[in-house]
Structures are given as structure tokens and as C-alpha cells.
């Protein structure tokens, strides 16, 4: 459930379809394809799934992509072969290979055939995202800012500093994580469970009330008075609505 603010998009991260990063996923397993699409779309990527090597290659001729996620075990053409054909045709698009085999020879074969990186199944989704970001950075496609800005709030991800109207605010790591998540996904309503998972990890066993405590601390430190920037969404959780700047 994605909620948009009444004034539309203010924050730097582009959700405009034309500017989204375009990923091509060539994977035959329907369940893996499903979670890749859902997860990557949720992270703001534009995902095109293809179930076979041939259809994947055809799609590549019709459109351009910023990155290709390629499974090795495909029903028609072997993933290494697909990789070689993409490289033969010339496009310098980064390729991330998914493989089940852990043998060194397979990695070498994968990299030799022109892949830029590989990931061994079963992989962690966080690692997949990190690899995608790294590959995009290398190819110069990433439009990632070191600083996030939303209205008067500036968040520096490198120095991990937050300021509002130029005044520095000291935040705990959890509060910083919450604010970063909100600023990356403005207007999106997060449930307390999701916030808990994203900020404290999947292994945290406590109740979700802890999130309310952290949110209240964060609001106090930000000087967030009603109507809040971090709004409580009834029966859902919280969402971030940046101050309106400009028309």
C-alpha cells in the first residue's frame, strides 16, 4: 500500500517511471521471479521479468536496461551462453548472475562469459540489493545521493548526521535508521512490524510497542509538532510527509 501526499513528490528519489532504474530479470523459477519482482519494485526499481533465455534476449533487443539479473539454470539456453550473447551484441549493461553451484570453476566460467558479479543461491535479499547498488554505481547509472533532504531536514548518510534548519540533531542508530527509511520512502505508510524488521532486524522478538517509543523520541528530537511530519496512520502505522517546499 503506497500512499502519496496531496502535493505529490517532493523528495529527491525519483518515482517517475521514466527515470526509474530498469532491471531485466531472466529467471525460470516462478517463485524466485515473484519475490524478486515484488521486492525490487518495492525498492523503487522498474522490473521486467522473463522466464527463458530466448525471450530475455528478445526483450533486450527491444528495450534498454540498466542492469540484468540472470539465472544460470535456464530451460532453453544456459545462463553462461545468454551472457556471452549479450556481450557479443555489445551492450555494456552490468550482469549479475544467480547460481546454485558453489564450485570455483563455475564462478570463473560466469565471470569469463562476461558477468560482472554473481550471487549464490540461496542469497539474502539485502545482499542482492547491495550488489545491485554496487554494480549500478560502477556503471555510473546510480543516482544515489550521499545526502537526503526533505524540507528543512538534511540527513547525511556518510557522516550519519542529521540537521534541521542547519541545527544539528543527535539521534540514536535506531532513530537514524527510522528517519532514513522515512526519508527514502516519503508518503509510504509503514506498519510497525515492517519498521521493526527494517530497523532492528528480522531476529528481534519483542513487541511492536518499541517502535512507538522510538517514534516519539524521534519526533521530540526533530521538534515535530502536530500536524506531524511523521504521521500516525490509523490502524496501519506511520508515514512520513515532508514539509512542502515550493508550489
Amino acid at each position: 500500500m503506497i500512499l502519496y501526499g496531496k502535493s505529490g513528490i517532493i523528495y529527491a528519489m525519483n518515482t517517475d517511471n521514466n527515470n526509474k532504474i530498469r532491471l531485466l530479470v531472466i529467471e525460470d523459477d516462478p517463485v524466485i521471479t515473484e519475490f524478486l519482482c515484488t521486492g525490487l519494485k518495492y525498492e523503487g526499481y522498474d522490473v521486467t521479468p522473463r522466464a527463458a533465455g530466448k525471450t530475455g534476449l528478445d526483450t533486450l533487443q527491444q528495450a534498454t536496461f540498466d542492469l540484468i539479473i540472470l539465472d544460470v539454470m535456464l530451460p532453453d539456453i544456459d545462463g553462461f551462453e545468454v551472457c556471452r550473447r549479450i556481450r557479443d551484441r555489445g551492450p555494456d549493461v552490468p550482469i549479475l548472475m544467480l547460481t546454485v553451484k558453489k564450485e570455483i570453476s563455475d564462478r570463473v566460467k560466469g565471470l569469463d562469459s562476461g558477468a560482472d558479479d554473481y550471487l549464490t543461491k540461496p542469497f539474502s535479499f539485502d545482499e542482492l540489493l547491495a550488489r545491485i547498488r554496487a554494480l549500478l554505481r560502477r556503471s555510473g547509472k546510480a543516482r544515489e545521493n550521499k545526502k537526503l533532504q526533505a524540507g528543512s531536514i538534511v540527513l547525511d548518510m556518510e557522516s550519519r548526521e542529521v540537521s534541521r534548519n542547519g541545527k544539528r540533531i543527535d539521534l540514536t542508530p535506531t532513530e537514524f535508521g527510522l528517519l532514513e527509511l522515512f526519508m527514502r520512502h516519503p508518503h509510504r505508510a509503514f506498519t510497525r512490524e515492517t519498521l521493526l524488521n527494517r530497523v532492528l532486524g528480522y531476529h528481534y522478538d519483542g513487541g511492536t510497542n518499541i517502535i512507538d517509543v522510538h517514534i516519539s523520541h524521534l519526533r521530540n528530537k526533530l521538534g515535530d509538532r502536530p500536524p506531524h511530519l511523521i504521521r500516525t496512520i490509523y490502524a496501519v502505522g506511520y508515514a512520513f510527509y515532508p514539509e512542502e517546499t515550493g508550489p
Partner: protein
């Protein structure tokens, strides 16, 4: 006994060989020593007798002792002394004894002449009772002497014995000869023993060398280095044969080990694919997709599928391992037309309205586990349905062979090429399919069927032609 068992084979064989060698050489040495001794004694005694005989005969004649009225019981000491003196020389001394065994004359006169041993009553009695050749060994002052007893008769061959001459001779010279001979013998025996033992140990070492090589190789293999082999230098003896069959055994072990390893790797890979789906879906949900009911629904369905696939995989793996022991196969006599009548409704459920024809074959009684037979057929049937288009029919039938029944499941599906056909019975092998529908297979169905057929001592084979269809045949023994 324990210490003996602790010794190496080489040491044991060497010791046994040395003991045998020592025993036989010492035996031969002792025998030859004893033989020479006997020869010397008999030589010496016959020489002495030959010398004494004419002297005694002359003495009897000279003293007219041959007269029948000679009072032989009263042997004259003077006459006896003459005889004893005549018979005594530098190395031999004679004494004369009367019928009572009393010494009546001693030939020893000069100090360099040897001492006579006191008469031995036992031998004396034998001589007095008429035995001519009484010879025995005795000692004088701790030195060995040879003693001869010669009965004195009035005439040769007469039974009238009036006394006994005892001639004793020192054996010092014989001893000297025997000593030098013995020393030579001992030297010879020692030489034979030493060279024999050295040669023996060397020979044993040479013949056991390959055994040591075998041992070293065994040790390396037991550490997991299955690529090692024993080198055989074209030997046809027991060790060469042992090495050959050892190498053959390791070949088989290596092949089994490799196929086991391949199986485990394949099984792990098959487990990893659904686990990838499960992990990724869960992670994506936890990261926030859970907030969207539509995403949650899609991901949950996928996860449900993956869990089912994992369960199916585990069941089939368990099925394969269960078949490893034949005790889980409960064979009974099955009448084929009846069995297929029972089986048909179950098969039609699986066919879900597809055309399934069970073509009745001849009456036959087979020995099989009915549950396993059903599983084999269901496995083959689901494959046939999966890889053929819905309009085509699947046929099950059977025929009699000598001692066996052949059952087959035939489809008119997409078939497979030679390359796929050659691997199709291997676990986890899956051919490429363009029309397969439904859930993704695991690749264990046919290899499971193969194991089940083989548990019945039957055989399975697949015939296929691309575009025409596939038929799987298997045999069961007649019951």
C-alpha cells in the same frame, strides 16, 4: 604368543626360516659327528682285536693250555702276567681276569703306559658268558678310554672260557681328530647359517616388498585419497593377483563414492532452489511487502508451492533410501488382470479426464510388492501425462516373457533425444520440455521407479523418439 603376533610378517617368516635352517644344519652336523665317532671306535677296536688275537693264540699254544686236562680254573698269575705284558703297548694296557672276575695280572709296568680302568662287572659278565665282541667306553682319571673284552678260550670256538683279557686304549688321539673335525663342522655350519639367514631375509624382503607397497597405498586410501593405485609389475603370483583385485575394488569404491557424492550434491542443489524462493519471499515480506495484502497473497502462494516441493523431494529421497534394504519389499503373488482392475480407478484419478487405456494382457502371476508396483506405475503414468499433450492417450499394458512379465507405459508425447535418453534414469536428471505443465518436477521419479523395479530383481528401459512419444518398459519375475 602375543609377542609373536606383534611381529611383522617379514620378521615371523624370517625367524621361522632361520629356526628351520638351524635345526636342519645342526641335525646334519650332529649326525655326521656321531658317524665319524662310530667309525673311529670300530676302526680302533678291530685294529686292537686283530693285534691281540695272534698274541693270545700263541700264548695258549706256548703254555700248552690247549690240553684238555689243563686246570683252567686256576689260571697261573705268572703266565697271565706274560700275556698282559705282551698285550700292553704305549697306548694300550691289558689286564687279565679270571672266571670270578678278579684281576690276576696287570700289564702296566712303565709309568708312561696308560692306567687300566677297573673292570665293569656288567660287561665282564657278558664276556664270560661267551660274547666275543664286547666293547665299551669308560673313563680313567676323567679321560675317555675304549675298553675291549676278549674271552680266553682253550680253543677258538670252544665254549670253555677260563678268563678274560681287558684291553683299554686312551682315546686322546681320536678326540684330537674329532675336535679338529668338529671345529671345521661348526665353522661350516656357522657359514651356512649366516649366509642362509642373510639370503633368506633378503628373499623374504623382496617377495614382501610389494605387500609393503600395498600396505602404504591402503593407508593413503584410508585417509581419503581414492585416486591412489597399487603398481603391479606384471606379477602373476598371489601378491600380484591381490594387487590387481585390490585395484579393481578401489575402482568400484571410487565410482560408488563419486556417484554418492554427486547424488548428495544434486540433492542439496534441489533443496537449495525451493529454499531460495522461500528465503527471498520471506525476506521481501518482512522488508515491507507484508503491508500490501496483494503482495502477501502472491508471495504466500509461492512459498506454499516451495514447501510442498521440499516435502515431495524429501519423501522421494526417503523412498530411495528405503529401497536400499530389501527387507522393506514385501513380495507376494499378484494376479495381473485383477491387479490392474483394482489399479484403474486410482490411475483415472491421476489422469484427470485424460484418455488412459489399460490394455489387458495375458493372465500372469508375478511376485511383487503391490504397493511398490502401484508406485512404479503411478510414477511412470504421471511422467507420461506430464510430457504429452492432453489430446493424446496414455496406454498401459503387459506381455509374457520367459520367466518374466514385461509391463509398459506408453505415451504419444514430445519424446526425447538420444542425449536426454542416455541420462534419463539418473537421479535429478531432467530433460528440457516445452509442454510440461503444472508444478516443476524434481527429477527423481524415474530413478525411483528404477530402484523399485530393481528391488524386484527386474529391469527397466526407456524407448523414445522425439515427436513420437516415449515408452517405459519394466520386467517383474513370474510368481
Amino acid at each position: 604368543m602375543k609377542a609373536w603376533e606383534k611381529l611383522s610378517l617379514r620378521a615371523r617368516l624370517g625367524l621361522l626360516y632361520a629356526a628351520l635352517l638351524i635345526f636342519s644344519v645342526v641335525l646334519v652336523g650332529c649326525y655326521s659327528y656321531w658317524n665319524i665317532w662310530q667309525l673311529f671306535i670300530s676302526n680302533k677296536s678291530s685294529h686292537l682285536r686283530a693285534r691281540a688275537k695272534p698274541i693270545i693264540e700263541h700264548w695258549i699254544l706256548d703254555n700248552d693250555l690247549a690240553k684238555p686236562d689243563f686246570p683252567y680254573l686256576n689260571l697261573n698269575p705268572q703266565n697271565a702276567l706274560v700275556l698282559s705284558r705282551d698285550l700292553t703297548s704305549r697306548d694300550a694296557v691289558a689286564i687279565i681276569l679270571n672266571r670270578k672276575g678278579e684281576v690276576i695280572a696287570n700289564g702296566k709296568r712303565l709309568p708312561e703306559e696308560p692306567e687300566a680302568p677297573p673292570p665293569d662287572k656288567k660287561y665282564l659278565h657278558r664276556a664270560l658268558s661267551g660274547e666275543n665282541e664286547v666293547t665299551y667306553l669308560s673313563q680313567v682319571n676323567g679321560k675317555p678310554v675304549l675298553v675291549l673284552l676278549i674271552p680266553l678260550r682253550l680253543q677258538p670256538g670252544s665254549s670253555l672260557i677260563f678268563g678274560v683279557v681287558q684291553i683299554s686304549v686312551m682315546l686322546t688321539d681320536i678326540n684330537q681328530i674329532l675336535f679338529s673335525h668338529g671345529a671345521m663342522l661348526i665353522a661350516l655350519v656357522a657359514t651356512i647359517l649366516i649366509s642362509g639367514i642373510i639370503a633368506g631375509f633378503w628373499l623374504i624382503g623382496v617377495s614382501l616388498k610389494d605387500l609393503h607397497g600395498l600396505l602404504a597405498t591402503c593407508n593413503q586410501i584410508s585417509k581419503g585419497n581414492f585416486s591412489r593405485r597399487v603398481s603391479v609389475k606384471n606379477r602373476r603370483d598371489e601378491i600380484g593377483q591381490l594387487a590387481t583385485s585390490f585395484n579393481r575394488m578401489i575402482d568400484q569404491l571410487e565410482a560408488t563414492f563419486a556417484s554418492q557424492q554427486r547424488f548428495v550434491v544434486n540433492a542439496a542443489h534441489e533443496l537449495l532452489t525451493p529454499l531460495t524462493g522461500l528465503r527471498g519471499s520471506l525476506e521481501v515480506m518482512l522488508r515491507g511487502a507484508q503491508d500490501d495484502p496483494a503482495s502477501t497473497a502472491r508471495l504466500s502462494k509461492g512459498m506454499y508451492k516451495e514447501v510442498n516441493r521440499l516435502i515431495r523431494l524429501c519423501e522421494q529421497l526417503l523412498g530411495l533410501s528405503r529401497l536400499e534394504s530389501l527387507s522393506n519389499v514385501h513380495k507376494q503373488s499378484i494376479v495381473l488382470p485383477e491387479f490392474f482392475n483394482d489399479f484403474e480407478p486410482q490411475a483415472q484419478v491421476l489422469a484427470r479426464g485424460r484418455s488412459l487405456i489399460i490394455k489387458q494382457g495375458p493372465y500372469a502371476r508375478v511376485s511383487a510388492d503391490p504397493d511398490l508396483l502401484k508406485q512404479i506405475l503411478l510414477n511412470l503414468l504421471s511422467n507420461a501425462l506430464r510430457y504429452s499433450s492432453p489430446e493424446t492417450a496414455v496406454v498401459i499394458s503387459w506381455k509374457l516373457l520367459p520367466e518374466q512379465v514385461e509391463i509398459w507405459v506408453s505415451d504419444q508425447g514430445e519424446g526425447m533425444d538420444k542425449e536426454t535418453l542416455s541420462h534419463i534414469l539418473e537421479p535429478f536428471y531432467q530433460g528440457k520440455s516445452t509442454i510440461a505443465s503444472g508444478e516443476k518436477g524434481i527429477g527423481l521419479g524415474l530413478s525411483l521407479a528404477k530402484s523399485m523395479v530393481e528391488a524386484h530383481e527386474g529391469a527397466i528401459r526407456v524407448e523414445s523418439e522425439p515427436g513420437k512419444g516415449t515408452t517405459v518398459f519394466f520386467t517383474l519375475p513370474l510368481g
